[in-house]
């Protein structure tokens, strides 16, 4: 886009074009299963760390549930605590 060619002095905010939404509220998901590692991998970066809300766009209530589910699945060995190339 033309916007990208312009050199900003300060870094432009990345991909603020699309409106972030909380996928749990949107789809009416009420419970995040800690045993479902494949779903939880979407909320973890490639080092296995929990992604912040500002990137995933989830609401505070569900971010806590996701973080707790990830910690539980780490405890039972479904997800790594730290890794180098997860995805």
């Amino acid at each position: 886009m033309a916007k990208d060619q312009i050199q900003y002095v300060t870094a432009p905010k990345v991909d603020d074009s699309r409106k972030k939404y909380c996928r749990f509220k949107k789809n009416g998901i009420k419970f995040i299963d800690y045993k479902d590692a494949s779903f939880l991998l979407k909320f973890v970066n490639d080092q296995g760390k929990v992604l912040p809300r500002r990137l995933t766009g989830t609401s505070l209530k569900f971010q806590r549930k996701v973080a707790q589910a990830i910690k539980r699945s780490r405890h039972i060995g479904l997800m790594p605590y730290v890794t180098d190339s997860l995805k």
Binding site: N27, I29, K30, F31, K35, D36, R74, I76, Y81
Partner: protein, 122 residues
């Protein structure tokens, strides 16, 4: 009587029937103490994301049951005592969790979360 869900991981060194024997031991312990087992789900041998006790695989077993509150401590003491159990996790289920596990047991294919991403059967 609260509803609980517990996942235990057994060491892979066990033979098939030794693993079954451990599971029956714990389910008997549960029924003796007035717990009512709703569902047992054996995932079998699975690879662990990181080595636990120097082992990279383990027998996973999931049990959903209703039990009086004070029984959980006893159960976990038994888990700690039995060295064949590498790791365990017991959580109490609230109404959303109960609805989810009910739905998963009845229709595994129509998991709510999966419809948005991919409708693959588990």
């Amino acid at each position: 009587m609260q509803q609980y869900e517990t996942v235990i991981i057994l060491t892979p060194l066990l033979s098939e029937e030794a693993a079954k024997e451990v599971l029956t031991k714990f389910s008997k312990l549960m029924t003796d103490n007035g717990a009512e087992i709703i569902d047992e789900d054996n995932w079998g041998l699975k690879k662990l994301a990181y080595p636990i006790e120097k082992k990279t695989t383990g027998f996973y077993h999931l049990t959903t049951f209703k039990a009086p509150g004070e029984f959980i401590n006893k159960l976990e003491v038994e888990y700690r005592r039995d060295e064949r159990v590498m790791r365990f996790l017991t959580i109490s289920l609230d109404k959303h969790a109960m609805a989810y596990s009910e739905k998963k047991r009845s229709g595994a294919f129509n998991k709510k979360k999966e419809t948005k991403t991919e409708g693959v059967a588990k």
